[in-house]
Structures are given as C-alpha cells and as structure tokens.
C-alpha cells in the first residue's frame, strides 16, 4: 500500500485485519472488507489484463458485476483454480492467489499486443471473413485462435468442494438490498407477508449506505444514517429472511427463480474445510420485487480504455466504502449530475481533482452549485478528444464541442491525470425483468429502457425501474409497493426526502475527436474489443437487426453479456440509421445473470449420486460373484461373470455353452411387470397387442407384440392369464415405464368405458430364469411335489406353487430356445430363491449368465430385442413377423398404419440374418452394409443390429436391417470397415434349432 492511496475508513474495512495476497507472483496486502479490486487499487495497480483481440492493456473499471476487464484466474491448485473471476466481486481473503489471464508471457509484456498495431487488419467480422476458407484449414486456425485468445484455464482435477441445493418458498421475493428493496421489504413485512430478501454483496444498503454528502436527507437525517436504522430494523424482523452474498442467477416463468449463495469464497482457504462452498436456491415466489438498481454507463470517445479510466461511481465507491483513492491526479468526464457526487467525495477525502469535463452547456442544480463553490475547474461543453499513457493514463486532451455535438472545435487543452472518472448516465438493470419474459419500453428523456409489460406477478422499483433521484426512488418505491401488495397505508407515507434535482440533460452516444473516426479507437465492449467503428462497418455491410450486429461485431458477447456496451451499441445503430432506439429493440439477456460454477448447478448430484440407479434383489450375489454390470435404463444388470481373468468374449462363450449344454441361470427381475385386472382385461389385451387373446386359457402364457399407432414396433413380452379377469404382462426392461404410461393413456382418454385396472408390479417380484437341458431336473429338486411333465406343465404355461411360505409363480417360457422356467417370487425372497437354484443346480454345473449371453442365445434363435433390432421405424412385417398380426381382429393399436402406402412398400428395410464368409470374422454392431463400395456416393443398404460368435454353431452370426432384405436371401454383400471389407451372405434370421426341439429339453 503505497503512495498514500489509503484513506482512513473504519466503517466498512477492518484495518486491524491485514491480509496478504499474491497477484501475478507479487505479494501484496489489503484489509478485511476489501474486494480484490480495492486491494489492488490500494497498491496502485490498475493494469490487470489484456483485451481479447488487440491485447491492449486494461485496468479495473468498475466496482461490481458489470466489470469487463478485471477478470482473473483465482488460485493455482489443479482442482480449485477458477477462471474468469471478477476482481470487483471477490472479497479479499488471506492467502488469495490470482493471475491475469489473457496475456503471454506477462501482463506487462504481452506478445499479442502486436495485434494493436495490426488493428486496421482486424475489423468487425474478421474471424468470420478470414477463417472461412479453405474449410480444411479450420483445425489449424482454431489451434492458433484458441491459443492467442485464451481466457482463463479450467481446473484439470475433480472439484473437491461441496455444493448444495435448497428449495425456498415465500410470499414476496425481493432481489436487491438497496434502499428501495429494503423499504419494500419493510412494507411487505408490516403487512405480515413472508419476505425473502436477496443481496449479492456482503452488506445490505446498496450505494446509499456509503453516501456521505450533506445534500440528500431523509426525515431530516443524513440519508446513510436513516438507512442504517432501517437495516437494523429489518435484521430483527421475523417475517424477513435475508440472504447476503446471494446473487440471482435466473428468473424463469411462474416466478421460479434460481439464486446462488457464496458461503466460503470470502474465507481464507484453511477456514473452508468441510463447509458447503455455494448453495443454489430454487425459489418459488408468489410475488417478486426487482430492486437491482442501475449501472453507470461509460462514455464512448477515442482511447477510452486505458488503465486508470474508471466509472465515476466506482471511483466514488472506492473512496467512500473501501477508503481507497484510485489516483492522485483525478479528472472527471461526465454528461450528468451524478459524477458531481464523485467530485464531492474526492474533495472531502482530500484527493486532488484537476478538472471536471462536462459535455453539457451548463447545470445549475444544487449539487453542481456546491462543486462550483469549491472552486473546482469545470469545462462546460467540452469533450475528451484523446487520452495518453500506455499502461496507465497520464493525460487527457479536451476540446470544445460544436453546436450539434458531432465535431470538436477550438484549441486542444491537455490535462494531467492518473485517474479519469467517466460517467455517461445510468442504465437500469432490467436483465432479470427481460429474462422473465417482460417487455421493455424506451424512455426518450433519460435514454433508457425501462420495464413495461409482464405476465408475471412482479414489480420493478427504484433505479431498476428508471428512478434515479433519491426522492423519486423512495416515494415511488413506497407507492408502487403498496399498490402491488394492495396495502392502504404504510409507516412511510409521510416520508420527507431532500435531494439535488438534475435539470440539464445531454447525451451523445459517440463523442467526436479531432481525428477522423477511422483513425480512432472508441471502445464499446471492452471485453471483446469492439469499437464504434465496428458497429458502423457492420451497418455498412448490410447488417440491420441488432441481434445480427451483435453477433457480427461480438459486441455484448463476453462473459459480462455487454452490461456496459449494449446501450451505446444501440445508440450508435439508431443514430447511424436514423431510427428511434425504442424501435430497434434490445438484445436478449439470458440466464445466468452472472456466471455460475458447474459445481453449483449439479449440487449433490455427483459421483454415485449423479443418476438414480436400480438394483435387483439378487444384486449383492452378482457383486459377490464378480459380475460386470451394464446399465439398462436405470437398472444395473449383470452383464457377464468373468472367471479367472477371462475376457468378456471368453466369459460369454463359456456361459452360453453351459446354458445350451447343461444349465444356465439369469436374473430377469428387471423385466417390466404390469398386473392387469378387470372384466374387460381380455378385450383390453386384444386392443393393445397385434395378436388375438380371446382364446387364451387360465394358466397359459402368450407372447405379444405392441405397436405404436404409426404401426411401428413399440414393445414386446409374454403375458400370463392368472385368473378369469386377471393377467400379468411383462415388458422390456427399458420400456416398462413408457408402456405403463401408454396403456394408462388409452384407458383414461380413449377407452374410459373399459373396466380395467393397471398396477405396475415390476419392483414387487424378483425373477430367476433357469434354462438348459437340465433345467427340469433342477426345478424338480426344489419343487419336489410339482408335476413338471409336458402334459401337466407344457411350454407357455404357468403354475403357482408354495415353497415353504413363499408363493412362487413359475412360467415355462423361453427366450433362449432352451427348456426354461422363470420363477417369480416376492422381491424380498429374490436372493433366497436365486441361491436355492444355484444350490440345486450345483451337480449340473449351473452357470449364471448375464445380459450379453442372453443376447447371444436369443440371437441364435432369431428372437428380436426391441430397441436393438428395432429403432421405431420397423413394422412387424419388416421384422418378418407377419404371423403375429391377427387377421380377424377389427382393430388394435397401429393396425390401420400397417397398410399405409409407406408401410406396404416392398423396398423397406427388413430384418435378415447375416453370415460372414469367414466364420471367425465377427461383424461390428452398427456397421453399414453395401453392395458396391466403389461407386460413389456409396449406397447404404442397411446396418448390423446384433452380432455374436456362436460357440454352439462355431461361427459368427448377425442380425441386420436391410433394404428389400426379404428378397436378398443368399445374396453376397459387403460390410466395409476402416481397415478391411468383410464379405457376408444374407441368411434366414433363425440360426439354431429351426424346428424348436430344444424347448422340450
């Protein structure tokens, strides 16, 4: 802390708590209460970064979230480092480490600075124009663009911090704890409303809390003193929940809002252990009051971007709040009265103010008169024509404006300065209002967009709504809040406010210089380096819509979303095209208002909580027996059980051989199960499946295929008739929830007359499926009294038996082609029955198999898997499953679509088998099938849907969908791969046991 830049200020900064921090490798000091920006400024550091395109030196410009330049990399830990942090928002803590981002090798000497001299070659749309051709060069361009444009670095290791989400509900949400928000909170609370008050800073009070002039008074007290009493009052109010360090990120429809609270970022690193770093509030508010205030505009003039050029309001805040002088030789440049408050603060703190340059002809308001009386030099009707100083401003050149304000006249006067405080008026923070869908209107008097129409229960007050003078802010906030909350009287109805009133207004969007525009650099968007020239160029090149101009020039496309740039961009477009600004419309502000970390967005949903997963009752057994798992929907299904370091291929070959030769067991618990009851249950099945169900007897099972109304296969499964009006339907694992919804939909909306009730029982039953030639012997060992003869218990039938107290539903159905039994028990007995089967099967070397072997076994039999061999474009006819379409039924879901002109085309893709000429060659699933690979463009005929090596057949087999496949049986085709072309022959879809003999063991 050098050069006498610190002013004694005990109110907001704790000078007894000295904190050390490191900026670009240099150890520096600040105090508790400082932001990183105020601490840097107190060390006489303005230059903190380089601009994006021209690599011009840039300094701290603001004191808030609108900061375009002071964007730093915080921390140097691979996991905790955070890019793009605004120095103006982060509270200083002991041990903070930070670095400049967009410069190499250092902020003081930046190679990219050469771009500044090349700038005539880098106009608007430069990237679009230069890097377009040839297309094949793009990868090379991208490499260099990324390297030279590099904003911050992402952390390379997993974020170790904890984040949290919380729901909140309130009557009134107030966003912004400045004077208008506070008074609205008090009025709402006095009316017994539950209020949630959010403030993004650490303290309530906004800018009035550090206001130190003697002109504004509330109820005859100094305004800041009056406000402090109000804050005390609010802090003790039980109706008001206050969340500080909490910024509103997004305002969605129906008053659903997201806010982020910083809980530990202001603490020294050691104090953060085991604490939640940030919390995301998901807020549902009955009413919302936006009191987010306004941000000051810069002015647009030649070389307006040098370090040391700052917003006047920021210069004031650094003095009055942080006790930091931004310079020792100050000049103020303004077009309005508010900068005169900065003049008073400079004066009061004993800081040298060399001059005020004001583009207006004069002003006689109370505050200007007071400044005049202090003997401060004011240059009326003057503008800044140029500035000097490469890494820090040292001079401004001022000139008189002509009558129209579009040129300069007279002699150039040079003034010394190391800090130039600029003010171009104020812009209401309407971002949240527009995010919520609100429409703005243009106020010609103040050249601002203000909230107009909204569909939501919301109100904007204070300077967020366009009131800038204290009496307007207070009186209108009180009046509007009362009306919004339908309150007759408040305790503030007789409030007495005194303040200076602005009388003279003048605004020039682009200030003239003695140099022609083409030779100047009047910056609009400091972060993206776009100038007024770029806007004019875009207009000359024919861009009209403000959204297009924005993208072409990249104005407003930085991380600050153009908080400072957008109004000037609009103003210059309006002036150049002779349009009213109100007719141009504004660009859209999108959430988040300020950037959110990914950690905050995902909250606790990381690691094993990333997604919900479902386990079968036998899951532990699979884990204990070394199963590998695959995700099927949300289920974890046993995929295969490798033994002694087997590969997946080896394990699957072993498992499937065992199932064919002796016995295998599969956990089929994940299949969807729907219990169907009611007197119309049979009719219902007739309507939802393609085949006929009328003649199904109690105790029998039937396979069914379900279509969408468009005729495409939707799901399949076996349904069992348990009783006269009682069925158990099974669905695919992944389709269970969708089938249930679809059936419910038809029952409730199309066929409410049917007496049918559906209950999802997927989770209620566990299923062990035992298959293979020895399956009958194993089942017999467990259920000794059960008659398993083919006469009593044939294929596609069902029996209900007891094992001790356990009710077992046994279905003799097969998805492998082998004799097989599916034992269904209540879920809690799942593991018991599984282990019972394993024990009984020991002498037959019963082998647990996973989904991969199941897929192989069924593929050998040509059984489809919906979702693997079908993709929502396959009809039953395409699948060569014509046999399952009932000819007799008048109607079923999808029937009419089966003879649409498109579905009866013969050249549709159809399911076929494929055999590779080399039996050891296994096709890749998804591989394309062609006839001729030389004729370009290559005509794609279809693709492989399932492919395996069959240990029983000792050759590779595959299913595929193929254009006109039915006609191509026996044809030779090609499957081109990256390194070879595989020759295949189209075959039947059934590869094994075409006569279905194995089904009987």
């Amino acid at each position: 802390m050098s050069k006498n830049l610190r002013i004694n200020n005990k109110q907001f900064v704790d000078e007894t708590r000295k904190l050390s921090f490191v900026f670009n490798g240099k150890k520096l000091y600040g105090y508790k209460g400082d932001t990183l920006a105020s601490a840097l400024l107190s060390n006489d550091i303005h230059l903190v970064g380089r601009s994006f395109k021209y690599h011009r030196p840039r300094g701290i410009m603001t004191s808030g979230s609108e900061e375009p330049n002071a964007i730093l990399q915080i921390g140097n830990d691979d996991a905790l480092t955070e890019p793009n942090v605004r120095a103006t928002e982060i509270e200083l803590y002991d041990g903070l480490i930070c670095n400049s981002q967009n410069c190499w090798p250092s902020v003081n000497f930046d190679i990219g600075g050469i771009n500044n001299f090349l700038s005539p070659l880098l106009p608007a749309g430069f990237y679009y124009k230069t890097f377009m051709w040839p297309a094949s060069f793009w990868e090379k361009y991208e490499y260099f663009i990324r390297k030279s444009a590099g904003l911050g670095k992402s952390p390379t290791k997993q974020d170790p911090d904890m984040y949290d989400h919380r729901y909140m509900h309130c009557d009134i949400l107030i966003v912004g704890g400045g004077v208008s928000g506070l008074i609205a909170a008090k009025i709402a609370s006095d009316d017994n409303k539950k209020v949630l008050l959010l403030e993004d800073k650490e303290l309530l009070g906004g800018s009035l809390i550090y206001d130190d002039n003697d002109i504004s008074k509330i109820d005859n007290q100094k305004s800041s003193e009056w406000l402090k009493k109000l804050i005390e009052n609010i802090k003790n109010d039980k109706n008001i929940i206050i969340k500080t360090r909490t910024s509103l990120a997004a305002y969605h429809n129906y008053n659903f809002l997201l806010a982020r609270q910083n809980l530990t970022d202001h603490l020294s690193v050691n104090d953060r252990n085991n604490k939640i770093r940030q919390r995301l509030y998901k807020i549902r508010a009955k009413k919302v009051i936006i009191s987010t205030g306004a941000i000051e505009r810069p002015q647009v003039f030649h070389n307006n971007d040098r370090p040391g050029i700052m917003l006047a309001s920021a210069v004031k805040k650094y003095i009055d709040y942080y006790g930091v002088r931004c310079g020792l030789e100050n000049v103020i440049f303004t077009n309005n009265d508010s900068a005169y408050e900065t003049a008073l603060s400079l004066h009061k703190s004993g800081t040298k103010l060399n001059a005020i340059v004001d583009i207006r002809e004069n002003s006689s308001s109370e505050i200007v008169n007071k400044v005049k009386s202090l003997g401060i030099q004011i240059y009326w009707n003057h503008t800044i024509a140029n500035t000097k100083g490469y890494k820090r401003i040292n001079k401004v050149a001022i000139m008189k404006l002509n009558d129209k304000g579009n040129d300069v006249i007279g002699k150039k006067i040079e003034l010394n300065c190391d800090c130039l405080a600029i003010s171009g008026g104020w812009t209401p923070m309407v971002h949240l209002f527009t995010q919520s869908g609100g429409k703005l209107k243009f106020d010609n008097k103040d050249n601002i967009f203000v909230p107009d129409k909204t569909n939501l229960n919301q109100l904007s007050i204070g300077s967020a709504k366009g009131d800038f003078e204290l009496d307007d802010v207070l009186k209108n906030s009180i009046k509007d809040t009362k009306k919004f909350l339908q309150i007759e009287n408040s305790n503030y109805d007789k409030i007495d406010v005194q303040c200076s009133k602005e009388k003279e207004k003048k605004n020039i969007w682009l200030l003239p210089s003695d140099k022609p525009l083409s030779k100047t650099k009047p910056f609009l968007d400091y972060q993206n380096d776009s100038t007024a020239k770029d806007i004019k160029l875009a207009l000359r090149e024919g861009f009209k819509s403000i959204e297009h101009v924005k993208r072409y020039t990249t104005t407003g496309m930085g991380t600050d979303q153009g908080k400072l740039a957008n109004m000037h961009a609009l103003g210059i477009v309006a002036d150049t095209t002779n349009t009213n600004m109100g007719d141009l419309g504004t660009t859209t502000f999108r959430p988040p208002y300020t950037p959110l970390t990914f950690g905050t967005i995902v909250g606790r949903n990381v690691g094993q909580f990333f997604d919900i997963f479902r386990k079968t009752p036998m899951h532990e057994w699979h884990v204990d027996n070394n199963a590998k798992f695959e995700n099927v929907g949300q289920w974890k299904r046993a995929w295969y059980y490798p033994k002694d370091g087997e590969t997946m291929h080896d394990a699957v070959q072993r498992e499937s051989k065992a199932a064919r030769e002796s016995s295998g067991i599969l956990d089929a618990s994940t299949l969807g199960k729907i219990d169907i009851q009611g007197t119309d249950a049979n009719e219902f099945l007739n309507r939802v499946y393609t085949n006929a169900w009328s003649k199904l007897q109690i105790g029998k099972c039937r396979y069914g295929l379900m279509l969408n109304e468009d005729g495409m296969v939707y799901d399949d499964g076996v349904t069992t008739k348990l009783g006269e009006n009682h069925y158990l339907m099974t669905t695919t694992t992944g389709g269970a929830a969708n089938v249930m919804s679809k059936l419910e939909d038809y029952l409730q909306t199309e066929w409410p007359e049917l007496d049918v009730f559906l209950t999802s029982v997927t989770d209620h039953y566990a299923t062990a499926s035992v298959c293979g030639p020895n399956a009958k012997k194993i089942i017999n060992k467990i259920f000794k009294n059960l008659d398993l003869s083919d006469e009593s218990f044939p294929h596609m039938s069902f029996k209900e038996v007891k094992l001790g107290n356990i009710n077992c539903r046994i279905m003799r159905i097969s998805f492998t082609g082998e004799l097989s039994y599916e034992i269904n028990v209540e879920a809690s007995y799942g593991k018991y029955i599984w282990e019972k089967c394993i024990e009984a099967g020991k002498e037959f070397k019963i082998t647990p198999y996973g989904t991969e072997t199941m897929h192989l076994l069924r593929a050998e039999k040509g059984f489809i898997i919906v979702g693997q061999d079908t993709d929502g474009t396959m009809t039953p006819v395409d699948l060569q499953m014509d046999w399952i379409i009932s000819k007799k039924k008048y109607d079923f879901i999808g029937k009419r679509s089966l003879y649409r002109s498109d579905t009866i085309r013969e050249d549709r893709k159809q399911l076929v088998g494929l055999l590779t000429d080399d039996p050891n060659e296994i096709l890749e699933e998804g591989a394309q099938i062609v006839k001729d690979e030389n004729k370009k463009p290559v005509n794609m005929l279809g693709h492989v849907t399932s492919s395996y090596f069959s240990p029983t057949l000792k050759k590779s087999i595959a299913l595929a969908v193929l254009k006109e496949g039915k006609k191509l049986k026996g044809q030779k085709l090609l499957v081109p791969m990256i390194d070879k072309t595989i020759k295949v022959t189209v075959s039947d879809t059934v590869f094994l046991d075409k006569e279905n003999e194995r089904i009987n063991g």
């Binding site: 129906y254 569909n455 419910e744 939909d745 409730q748 199309e750 409410p752 009419r896 679509s897 649409r900």
Partner: protein
C-alpha cells in the same frame, strides 16, 4: 418451470407432469374405414399454434391422471384446467 393445478391433487411443480400434446383429437372409432389421408390427418397433423392451445397433461409422478390444459404457447400461461371428457371451454 410451470406450476400446474392438477384437478385431483392441487398445485404442483411442472417436474411432476408430462405433456401429451394437443387435446381433443379422438382416436377414430373405425380406423379401417379411413383412407390414407384421413388416417394421416389423425396420426400426424397437429396445429401447434401460437396462442391458446388445448393440450393433454398427465400427473405422471403423482396421481397418474390425465387432464386437459388450455395454455398460451406464447407465454406459457395456463388459462384453465379441466378434466378428461369435458368439452373445451370458450376462451
């Protein structure tokens, strides 16, 4: 994120519901009587209007009931909610 007033459960967050598209498109009673164009009209054609649209919603993570919603697609405002089988109100 809407708030939807389920006629059976009351006001709930949108995340509990799924949308079922345009309402009042009855499945033809005799699909076999229709030609391809008429069937395609039922199957594929939806109005997708800007303004008040009648649509079906299902309280999927609640009572599982289907009901009708009149929603302004330009601002997502729900004008009225009424049960399945009821006629659309004049708005």
């Amino acid at each position: 994120m809407f708030l939807i007033n389920c006629p059976y459960c009351g006001e709930r967050d949108q995340s509990e519901f799924v949308s079922g598209g345009e309402a009042h498109i009855a499945r033809p009673k005799q699909p076999t009587e229709l030609n391809d164009d008429q069937w395609a009209e039922y199957l594929f054609m939806r109005k997708n209007i800007k303004g008040i649209q009648f649509e079906r919603w299902n309280h999927a993570h609640g009572c599982r009931k289907w009901f009708n919603v009149a929603r302004d697609t330009s601002n997502d405002k729900i004008e009225i909610i009424y049960k399945m089988g009821e006629q659309p109100p004049k708005l």
